[in-house]
């Protein structure tokens, strides 16, 4: 008992939600519609009321195992089944599985004569029976206002409607009641006064010839909800609402780096390329190779085995593939493998928010890790720059939240290179610029990195080359006349080469001269040595001669002395 009391207390504090299963709607409402209470969905003709309520019931049955009742006052069960078959809903099968009960209420005023007092107990009995037959948790009444056409006594009808909504609450079913939008009121017959919990208004508006569907919560009692208008889409998978403003700046960042597809560019970006989940903006003048650079990035993503979504606003899929082949990049295999999805739409196809809705949906369905938008500047055809900026902010946040690396190209005018027409550059983590420089009768592309958050990056200009074999970035020369590119750069290169050759030759020559000098010196040294040794020999000869003369003289003196008979040795020599 204590436990149930505790649960009751909790449910008092927190409104229980009933997930609709409709993409985006549960995110806006923080979980879905108020459980066990009726919600009014109103809007003009053809704005998607029936579809929204049908999807609520079908998703409830299929995704959440909650059976539902669809009571239609306008279309027969067969008509409804046909209408939603295109969305992949098999109503007959759900009825067979006891997950859905359909009841078509037909009111023909001409057949009915009114006399005396009555109530709508028959409606309650039918609804009650339908609910009991499948154990329904969800109920749709589409649209209950048709009763006003069938019963002339509005007093009784209003009292009965009040009782009906009370009764639905008592039954504990989560209900959607639809109503046609009226003049100055939310619904034509003012039934919003009976539904006090949640009111959703659907709208189908045409701005600048493109229609956008929008949804707004007028009221959601006891729950936080976004009060903005949310664009929504109806396509082959049903309803999807965009939680466009519910994003914040609280995403986690990645330290992982991914290649740009061009080694030289990676080198310029601190050697490793972009951060994963960063946003990259590539600005450039017309024909500067923006799409080529984008295609290289897409190719690099596919090479890593990751899915890449390429949103093209100017060229068709085949055209992109053909054009990229001409620079040696074949994207077709990636498309075939399902890694690359080229989605080409004209910006004018629908309003900006529908584009956003489309991108959200494609992203959710395809789950890419890289998204390329080529080019974002084209979006300003369909909306003001302010609107484009606000959409791009949402997109950048959306992609970052999903850890998707996003790459945007932007066409700039030559006289305002370092600004984007939509002022989005401040949103971007990396901003690259390619400009055409005209000089010496030719146009050449020059590549800059204007910014790159969170990494050391090159401040050098590079020449951007697009050749048959792909893209390359080469050093540009900076001379007195500015940046040299193209043939001027080639000329410069030739000149440098010639100068280097000349220097080499000069060196050779000098070395040769030196060698010869060395040889000559060697010869001279040898000659001098020879001279010295000749003189030495001469000197020796003279010495020998004088010694000999000495000896001869001494001998002669001895002989002379002997001849004189000198008796004593005291006879002095030389006397």
């Amino acid at each position: 008992m204590a436990e149930t009391d505790g649960q009751r207390e909790l449910s008092h504090r927190q409104l229980a939600k009933c997930p609709t299963g409709i993409t985006g709607l549960d995110e806006i409402t923080g979980g879905g519609l108020p459980r066990g209470r009726p919600t009014l969905v109103c809007g003009g003709a053809g704005c998607g009321k029936t579809l929204l309520s049908m999807e609520f019931v079908v998703r409830g049955a299929v995704n959440y195992g909650e059976p539902g009742v669809f009571m239609s006052f306008e279309e027969t069960a067969e008509e409804l089944a046909k209408n939603v078959a295109s969305l992949g809903f098999d109503l007959a099968d759900l009825e067979k599985q006891k997950l859905l009960a359909m009841d078509f209420v037909y009111i023909e005023r001409r057949e009915i004569q009114e006399t005396g007092e009555y109530d709508l107990e028959g409606l309650f009995v039918r609804l009650g029976h339908a609910i009991d037959s499948v154990g329904a948790k969800r109920v749709v009444l589409d649209t209950v206002e048709a009763l006003f056409a069938g019963f002339p006594n509005e007093m009784i009808l209003r009292a009965e409607l009040r009782r009906l909504f009370r009764w639905l609450k008592d039954k504990g079913v989560t209900a959607i009641i639809t109503g046609e939008r009226g003049e100055g009121t939310l619904t034509r017959h003012g039934i919003e006064e009976y539904v006090s919990d949640a009111v959703i208004v659907l709208d189908h508006r045409v701005v600048g010839q493109s229609a956008t569907r929008r949804m707004r919560f007028v009221k959601y009692r006891g729950s936080l909800h976004g009060s903005d208008e949310y664009p929504f889409l109806i396509d082959e998978t049903g309803f999807s609402v965009l939680p466009v403003t519910s994003l914040g700046l609280d995403y986690a960042v990645s330290m992982e780096r991914i290649t740009s597809g061009i080694p030289r560019l990676d080198h310029m970006l601190g050697g490793q390329g972009y951060f994963r989940a960063s946003s990259v903006l590539l600005s450039g003048t017309a024909g500067s190779g923006k799409s080529s650079l984008a295609a290289y990035f897409a190719d690099a993503a596919c090479r890593r085995g990751e899915r890449c979504l390429y949103l093209a606003f100017e060229e068709s899929q085949d055209q992109i593939i053909r054009n990229m082949r001409s620079i040696g990049l074949d994207l077709a295999p990636w498309v075939d493998k399902g890694l690359l999805k080229l989605h080409a739409t004209r910006p004018t196809l629908y309003g900006l928010e529908m584009h956003l809705a489309m991108i959200h949906k494609l992203t959710n369905d395809f789950q890419p890790r890289t998204v390329i938008m080529d080019p974002i500047s084209n979006l300003s055809i369909v909306a003001s720059n302010e609107e484009v900026k606000s959409i791009l902010i949402r997109l950048v946040d959306f992609f970052k939240n999903r850890k998707i690396t996003s790459f945007y190209t932007n066409l700039t005018h030559p006289d305002q290179l370092e600004e984007t027409s939509t002022g989005v550059s401040s949103l971007m983590d990396v901003w690259l610029l390619v400009v055409n420089v005209e000089s010496n009768g030719e146009r050449n592309r020059v590549f800059h990195i204007l910014k790159s958050r969170g990494m050391a990056h090159s401040n050098q200009l590079r020449e951007f080359l697009i050749t048959d074999s792909g893209i390359d970035l080469v050093d540009a020369y900076i001379g007195p006349g500015g940046v040299l590119t193209g043939s001027a750069r080639l000329q410069q290169e030739a000149q440098e080469k010639a100068a280097a050759l000349a220097a080499q030759e000069e060196l050779e020559h000098r070395r040769h001269v030196l060698d010869r000098k060395r040889q000559i010196m060697g010869a001279q040294v040898a000659a001098l040595q020879a001279e010295i040794s000749a003189e030495e020999e001469e000197l020796q000869a003279l010495q020998d001669q004088s010694k000999l003369q000495h000896k001869v003289a001494a001998e002669e003196r001895e002989q002379l002395a002997a001849a004189r008979n000198a008796d004593s040795p005291e006879v002095k020599e030389g006397e």
Binding site: I112, Q113, E114, T115, G116, G122, V125, H129
Partner: protein
């Protein structure tokens, strides 16, 4: 006698509420007065047979349905206004 029962009437009720009882009493009286011997009345209690509400597209209670003669006519309410009931049953010219 083929046209003995040429008025086939169904009265849809939901339980024995005062309105339903009044409707039945009023119907019985009108039929006795204007269709003596030419009618049959079937009472259908939707609380017992909720499925039957769908076939005749019943929403209001009580509802009198003239199944025969065709075309089908529906009269809702407790049938307290005899004139209107007679008009609804095509027994009196519509004014």
């Amino acid at each position: 006698m083929p046209n003995e029962k040429d008025y086939e009437l169904r009265l849809y009720v939901a339980g024995m509420t005062p309105k339903c009882l009044a409707a039945f009493a009023n119907l019985k009286k009108i039929c006795e007065e204007h269709l003596e011997g030419r009618y049959s009345i079937q009472i259908i209690d939707l609380l017992e047979n909720p499925k039957l509400a769908q076939g005749d597209q019943i929403l209001a209670i009580p509802t009198l349905v003239r199944k025969l003669p065709e075309p089908v006519r529906k009269i809702i309410g407790d049938l307290s206004n005899t004139e209107k009931v007679l008009v609804g049953l095509d027994l009196r010219e519509r004014i």
